[in-house]
Amino acid sequence: MAGPKGESAISRALNAAWIRPFLFLIFIVVAWDLAIRIFKIPAYQIPAPADVVAVLWSDWPELLQQAWPTTYATLCGFLLSALFGIPIAMLIAGSKTVESYIYPLLVFSQSVPKVAIAPLFVVWFGFGIIPKVIAAFLLGFFPVVVSAVQGFKSVDLDMVDLARAMQGSRFQVFCAVNLPHAMPAIFSGLKVSVTLAVVGAVVGEFVGSNSGIGYVMQRSIGTFDLPTMFAALVILALLGVILFWVVDRIEKLVIPWHVSQREDVIFAS
């Protein structure tokens, strides 16, 4: 009656969820450093990883302080995308008339480059946080709507009929059947949207701002301070990763029953 072989401590450690990307990251940093040494890439073109780490280490307080305005704008923009995106998707999925009027225009507007119209936001709304929030919102809006429409449209009609047959009101049926069925698609859209909202906030900062990571990047480009610029990029990437992870956790809480949330099950013999 042999049971499954016990895993050694090392292979258990290697299988922990966060170790693998971390190892891969270390691999990339080593490869980056080697590439600079082998190809003799000059410091003003690509900074060495050691310099970037040095900046992260020494400027940590300022970078953290500058990360807050960017995070705040990202979150506000993202929440607006979710708040407006999901109801609009419900309308589009629910009514062919609404869909035929609105959806094509939405797709059309998506191709408008936000970086070109961002200066207009500063003209209309001033130099505060609003243009950044709007830029983040505009970038994050489309993925939410598209995924949510997909989710709402893929509801199993037999289940809806069954619920209606059991004398469920439209609202009860919506809450019990349509919404839960659409949730997996909505969350996938939210995950994409949150990383795009970071980009939007930075675009807003490039165009008009005295603070934020985008401002740090703009400043360091002008003074050829590439280590700081790359350090800012690292911070932005981390911000995206953390926000993505938060949305992922919320997804686990809201739809624990979905097939994508199942852990690998090991069967005992």
Partner: protein, 331 residues
């Protein structure tokens, strides 16, 4: 069949051998920014065939800031760059292989400007106003020196930051009273948009003696293409001299090449504002580009003290520029 091929090959061979012996050399010049009045000589030289006469087929590309253009020249994506030389010094001191082959603006065009009807004529008038800047661009890095020379402090006025377009919008729409810019660039763009005059307070009037725009090239390119560099500098010198004599035609050549490049009156006015900056008192009888060693040394010292340039730049200011490729003669 074979004889037809042989005759065909012979004909092509003959045609090629009587073709012009030397095709023009292709040269790419990247400007410091989108086109404005200051760039007229390049377009004029191309239109008048001055570059072609030296065997150069010139392609002019608009740039996105002196920093970006300097990087492009360092990476050999462009053969020559027309950039703010102090900005180039910043990159050179960090190891970028760039050198100025000719410094054109020997007096700085940097200024703080606003609508003329706001009556902001002297530095003291800046107190209490709102100034629009672009973080870390060439003017913003010298701004603290201007404040020092005029006795102002950052707390005396309000600052807003944005990119180039945002700065213009801010002044046009009243969100800011002033912006930092070149006397011949933003002032003309604002005039195009609003038909109102702009008054620039020039940094040079307050003791900031610094060179500005010039032509730069990659040091490797200069070594391997010495002949092209000489011909290019000779052609550009002639182009500048020709443009000085006929500013309106020079400005028109910008529009001929780039119909959306601006309006003829403001481009002409912009170029006319640029011409006085070509020379200082010491070089007033000389041809363009012949910057004095003293002027360059002063600029380096200023940059080290106030512009954040690494102090080791002072050890060898001559490393940043060379007049060796300029045409000889003083006609």
């Amino acid at each position: 069949m074979r004889s037809i091929l042989a005759i065909g090959a012979a004909l092509i061979w003959t045609a090629l051998s009587v073709a012009p012996a030397a095709a023009a050399d292709k040269v790419v010049l990247m400007l410091n920014w989108y086109v404005y009045g200051e760039h007229a000589p390049f377009y004029y030289g191309k239109a008048k065939g001055i570059y072609a006469a030296e065997g150069i087929d010139l392609e002019i590309q608009e740039g996105r800031g002196s920093a970006a253009t300097t990087q492009a020249v360092a990476a050999k994506t462009a053969d020559f760059g027309y950039v703010d030389v102090p900005t180039m010094m910043r990159a050179a001191v960090k190891g970028a292989p760039v050198i100025a082959t000719g410094v054109l603006l020997q007096t700085s065009p940097m200024s703080v400007m606003g609508f003329a009807d706001k009556n902001i004529r002297k530095p003291e008038d800046i107190r209490g106003k709102t100034v629009a800047i672009t973080p870390a661009d060439s003017m913003t890095q010298i701004w603290p020196l201007f404040l020092k020379k005029t006795g102002l402090k950052e707390s005396d006025f309000h600052t807003v930051a944005g990119d180039g377009q945002t700065k213009l919008n801010a002044v046009i729409n009243g969100q800011a009273d002033l912006l930092l810019g070149y006397v011949m660039d933003q002032s003309m763009k604002i005039k195009d948009a609003t038909a109102k005059d702009v008054y620039p307070i020039k940094f040079a009037d307050y003791g900031i003696n610094m060179v500005s725009s010039g032509l730069i090239a990659n040091t490797d390119y200069v070594k391997t293409h010495e002949d092209i560099v000489r011909r290019f500098m000779s052609a550009t010198t002639k182009a500048v001299e020709a443009a000085e004599k006929d500013p309106k035609a020079a400005a028109q050549s910008i529009l001929d090449a780039n119909p959306k490049g601006g309006k003829i009156d403001t481009l002409t006015q912009g170029f006319e504002l640029t011409i006085p900056l070509y020379r200082t008192a010491e070089t007033k009888d000389k041809r363009p580009f012949q910057v004095t060693d003293q002027n360059m040394a002063d600029s380096v010292n200023l940059m080290v003290e106030y512009g954040g340039l690494d102090a080791k730049a002072k050890d060898n200011p001559k490393a940043f520029y060379t007049n060796d490729y300029l045409p000889k003669g003083n006609s």
